[in-house]
């Protein structure tokens, strides 16, 4: 049989698209087993302290209420590695919004009403949620997220900076940001003869299964976690979140299936968020624009429950040649909700600050900012000295500039006026590491009817994972893509890594490729009619994931933006955004484009609209719903263009793919902020660029 043409690189439509748009696809909270009860959590209303008394009498007296779980009577869990999962285990309140009780009732409305009847008395303690540049609790973090060293130095920063003919010294700030996936965190749990089954909205069901097994003292085979369809996560579903533990507990206590979908307004306090950052960037260069010295010092917070350090200074170690460098993170543990992963943790805020500072240097030196970046292109990764497996940042900058129409460009600011509007353009670079977050396993099976079945616990968080895995399998099998069935989204399948770190496709896809290749070999070795069950081969990539590469492996990109600033209202609106990326081989242009556009849109929100503070008095976030936390709407998006360079990198995986889930957000905010400067001549170093701040500076 002649091999079918490889569908890798073809713009196939999403396999489950029809189910999703017709509502047939069922999400975690859309499973309702017979007898299902509904849960509603009770959040703490103090910012720090202890629970002194809990009165559940009135709640329990409501008809239809089955149970009120509190720390006094909830099942005891084994100590979790992630202490945000130790829900209802003790009387401590580490931050406002921490769950102090869970009501379980016949119906959602009853559970909600009963939750209001749970009366909690507290002994409050003084709290502190205010991050300041000189906070006494700040210490230098040993590690940043991703196990990167907190501090890296090379050369002699102080001396080199003092000696540099041209310098920039600027501080950039960003507020906390929230992931807010469309689908809230939700779980439906049931126990059947000691076996726990959970439909969970998660980016990785294998990890949820393992954690639940550990928490409840079960074997991994006693737990099944299903995440068939997931309505986005952006990092906030990367590991188990409290709802899955609460649902499992509630099902255990009541003996019924229990459904728990977290209310939107509670998400900010319990599912993680991007920590705020204050970033001081210092650059020094020759008059000709050769960067000699670079420092990025990040100040951020973590919570008291567990450590998390937004690694915003990490990408600076990848970007530009400079003999002298210092990158470090200072962090203070405050009484705040737990920060965690949000799309491109580290890279998104870090590259915002770094790429604005590079723009400031370009302005200072009167050099085109595209040319300044190209001039400082390193031969090897500056921090490690390792060669790049592939790096096409220069091509992204050049080709992006061509497509955008970057030149001719008058570099002077505040010159392009259209009535009340000032118009400007900006550029920024982007990077995101290629990381195999972990190994995955897969099974490939050939059936007598000529079809194949691929099993791997991948997760589709809206990315099109099924589709791209089918393409990878079809290519390896030499079979038509529509002969491939894909089973993903269950912990009963061969284990897979989470959909995170932009590494899901590389990890699952490699395992699928390997299993499919092994199956082809087995079919060749065992010719003849297939047995009724077909023939299967399995493979995993644990060795590959554990291996260290001699190469520095990263995606790169260049963002170009045109903004208009209304000098009357202070409104900043985006006319055009263009992203040019080099991210290995693009396996499916349709779904890849969708993810890159999504990332850029999220970056637009980070730059212009998404704003949230901690209320110092009450200790909670000020914007908890989608009316007050302004994610971009369709009317904010005019032209977004996405292009990429076909990159051939043999040092990655058999598909030659990097990752595309996160790099889209990385350079967007800096490109917009730089365009804002070009439009107005004002450096506004505090995101988001909302009318209040813009007007203050325009009139000041």
């Amino acid at each position: 049989m002649a091999a079918a043409p490889s569908p890798l690189g073809e713009p196939l439509v999403r396999r489950e698209g029809r189910e999703k748009v017709t509502g047939a696809a069922r999400y975690a909270a859309e499973h309702t087993p017979p007898g299902c009860a509904y849960a509603w959590p009770v959040p703490a209303t103090i910012a720090r302290g202890r629970i002194t008394a809990l009165d559940t009498t009135a709640a329990l007296a409501l008809p239809g209420v089955h149970a009120v779980l509190t720390h006094l009577d909830a099942p005891r869990l084994a100590a979790p590695g992630d202490r945000t999962l130790a829900v209802l285990q003790d009387d401590r309140v580490p931050h406002r919004g921490w769950y102090v009780a869970l009501v379980v009732a016949d119906g959602l409305e009853t559970a909600r009403a009963a939750a209001e009847e749970v009366h909690v008395s507290y002994e409050p303690e003084p709290h502190d949620v205010r991050l300041t540049p000189d906070h006494p609790g700040l210490y230098e973090a040993e590690l940043a997220n991703g196990l990167y060293p907190g501090t890296r130095e090379r050369g002699d920063f102080e001396a080199a900076f003092a000696a540099a003919p041209a310098t920039v010294d600027a501080t950039y700030t960003m507020p906390p940001l929230h992931n807010h996936p469309m689908e809230p965190h939700a779980s439906t749990a049931r126990w059947t003869h000691g076996h726990l089954t959970v439909h969970d909205s998660s980016q990785g069901a294998t990890k949820v299964r393992d954690d639940l097994a550990a928490l409840f003292g079960l074997g991994p085979d006693d737990v099944t976690v299903i995440s068939e369809h997931v309505g986005g996560g952006f990092g906030s579903k990367g590991t188990p979140r409290p709802q899955v533990v609460l649902a499992a507990m509630a099902a255990q206590v009541t003996g019924r299936p229990v459904k728990l979908a977290l209310p939107r307004r509670q998400l900010p306090a319990v599912v993680g968020h991007r920590a705020p950052t204050l970033q001081r960037v210092r650059l020094g260069a020759s008059r000709e624009g050769d960067l000699t010295v670079l420092a990025q010092e990040v100040t951020t917070y973590t919570c008291t429950v567990r450590g998390f350090v937004e690694g915003a200074a990490v990408p600076a170690r990848v970007m530009y040649a400079s003999p002298h460098s210092r990158t470090l993170h200072r962090v203070a543990a405050l009484d705040v909700p737990s920060p965690s992963w949000m799309r491109a943790p580290g890279e998104a805020p870090g590259m915002y600050a770094l790429e604005c500072a590079v723009d400031e240097l370009a302005v200072h030196l009167d050099i085109d900012p595209v040319e300044l970046r190209i001039r400082n292109e390193p031969d090897a990764e500056p921090d490690s000295g390792r060669p790049f497996s592939s790096r096409h940042l220069v091509e992204c900058l050049r080709q992006g500039a061509d497509r955008f129409g970057w030149l001719p460009r008058d570099r002077r600011p505040a010159l392009r006026r259209e009535g009340d509007l000032l118009v400007g353009t900006g550029v920024a670079a982007a990077t995101y590491p290629y990381v195999l977050v972990g190994g995955s396993a897969a099974e490939a099976r050939a059936h007598p009817d000529g079809t194949y079945r691929i099993r791997v616990n991948a997760t589709d968080i809206g990315t099109g994972a099924r589709t791209v895995l089918a393409q990878i399998a079809a290519a390896a099998l030499g079979a038509p893509e529509d002969h491939i069935r894909i089973e993903i989204g269950s912990s009963d399948l061969p284990p897979g890594v989470l959909a995170g770190g932009s590494g899901g496709t590389a990890s699952w896809g490699w395992a699928v490729h390997k299993a499919a290749t092994a199956l082809v070999a087995r079919l060749r070795e065992e010719p003849g009619p297939l047995p009724p069950n077909g023939l299967a081969a399995t493979a995993d990539t644990y060795q590959e994931a554990a291996a260290t590469s001699p190469y520095a492996r990263h995606s790169f990109g260049a963002h170009f933006a045109e903004v208009q600033v209304d000098t009357v209202t202070g409104e900043v609106r985006v006319r055009r955004l263009l992203g040019m990326f080099a991210a290995g081989r693009i396996l499916n242009p349709r779904t890849a484009r969708s993810q890159l556009i999504g990332g850029m849109t999220m970056g637009l929100g980070m730059a212009l609209t998404e704003d949230c503070e901690l209320d110092p008095v009450h200790g909670d976030f000020t914007a908890c719903d989608l009316a007050s936390y302004h994610v971009p709407v369709c009317a904010d998006i005019h032209g977004i263009e996405v292009h990429w360079i076909d990159e051939d990198d043999p040092h990655l995986n058999p598909m030659g793919s990097k990752g595309i889930g996160e790099i889209g957000i990385v350079g967007t905010a800096a490109a917009l902020a730089n365009a804002f400067w070009h439009a107005t001549g004002i450096r506004l170093r505090d995101l988001p660029l909302t009318p209040d701040k813009v007007l203050e500076r325009l009139s000041g």
């Binding site: 209001e116 009450h618 709407v633 209040d692």
Partner: protein, 328 residues
């Protein structure tokens, strides 16, 4: 579950009678704000009186050339009505600048006027709020108040009225028609909403049992130019930081008629009488417009984080009036 009664009103008289008999009962129109507030625990009415099916869903021509808008006319229908678009474009623009398409399809004219502040503390029952729980205090004064009032606020409340529709109606000198246990009355939109004073729990002058049945617009005289402009954090689905509704007539270079109202500045749509006094008869120049804005905004008392609203209101005023004068 938290039980509440539901009754579908058969007539205006029926609705009013039931409301008068049941303290705390609420009329249900589109429910786009009330139902949210019930979910948040801010509102817990014992009874909902559904008035959405009352025959108040028509826009009628009045003998004097004005327009009568039934209280149940949906926002989308109001904005799209040819008579509104042609003669009162400021009203159509205001409605279309608010909420989302889905919400406008549901929200009613009467309900829009009665929507409540989006102050974060008002919407969070775990925190003090004089409007929601009189006497508990106002954390917004020291807390998150970037979006709140700069005019007419009190030590008890700094909330803003969120309606766009109401701002346009204020500039158009519309009248709210109420039907209550004591009969019918009309209240100018400009005095329909209250300033907070020491009773911030009362948004409007509406009395117990009174139902909004209609809003009446006076005739739109020839030669009037009008516009609504709204500044906001994103391009759609965001409340006004500041909005302005302006109606202007200019003859021979002088202002013959000017009506100006602001949204986002106060506890009610803020009719700018002091600005209008400067405008009347004055030459239609940017200088006049700026002086008018300054006259009105001299009374502003911004809080720590919302001083930008004064400059924003000033800029919007000058911009919108200059735009209208250029058309005249």
């Amino acid at each position: 579950m938290k039980p509440f009664g539901y009754v579908r009103a058969g007539s205006v008289a029926h609705a009013v009678q039931v409301a008068a008999e049941r303290p705390g009962a609420r009329f249900l129109g589109g429910g786009t704000n009330l139902v949210d507030l019930m979910k948040l625990g801010v509102e817990s009415p014992p009874l909902l009186i559904d008035v959405s099916r009352l025959p108040l869903d028509r826009i009628e021509e009045l003998p004097d050339g004005g327009l009568r808008i039934g209280a149940m006319v949906r926002n989308s229908d109001l904005a799209a009505a040819p008579a509104v678009r042609d003669r009162y474009p400021v009203l159509s623009q205001a409605v279309l600048s608010g909420a989302s398409g889905q919400l406008r399809n549901t929200a009613t004219t009467g309900g829009n006027l009665l929507q409540r502040t989006r102050c974060l503390y008002f919407q969070d029952v775990t925190k003090p709020c004089n409007k929601r729980a009189p006497g508990t205090g106002c954390p917004a004064r020291e807390g998150a108040h970037r979006d709140l009032a700069v005019l007419g606020h009190s030590e008890h409340c700094v909330a803003t009225q969120p309606s766009d529709l109401a701002v346009a109606l204020a500039a158009l000198d519309a009248t709210v028609h109420l039907h209550g246990p004591d009969g019918e009355r009309g209240v100018p939109v400009t005095t329909f909403h209250r300033l907070p004073g020491d009773r911030p729990d009362r948004d409007t002058v509406i009395r117990t049992g009174e139902l909004i049945t209609a809003v009446e617009l006076p005739p739109a005289l020839p030669g009037l130019h009008m516009r609504y402009r709204k500044a906001r954090d994103r391009s759609s689905f965001a409340f006004a930081l500041v909005s302005v509704a302006a109606v202007l007539a200019v003859r021979d270079g002088a202002v013959r008629h000017a009506a100006l109202a602001y949204g986002g500045l106060a506890h009610r749509p803020w009719r700018a009488r002091a600005a209008e006094a400067v405008l009347h008869g004055a030459s239609a120049t940017e200088d006049t417009f700026a002086r008018a804005a300054d006259a009105e905004l001299a009374a502003a008392r911004p809080l720590r984080d919302n001083g930008f609203k004064v400059a924003l209101a000033r800029g919007l005023t000058v911009g919108v009036l200059a735009d209208l004068a250029a058309r005249a």
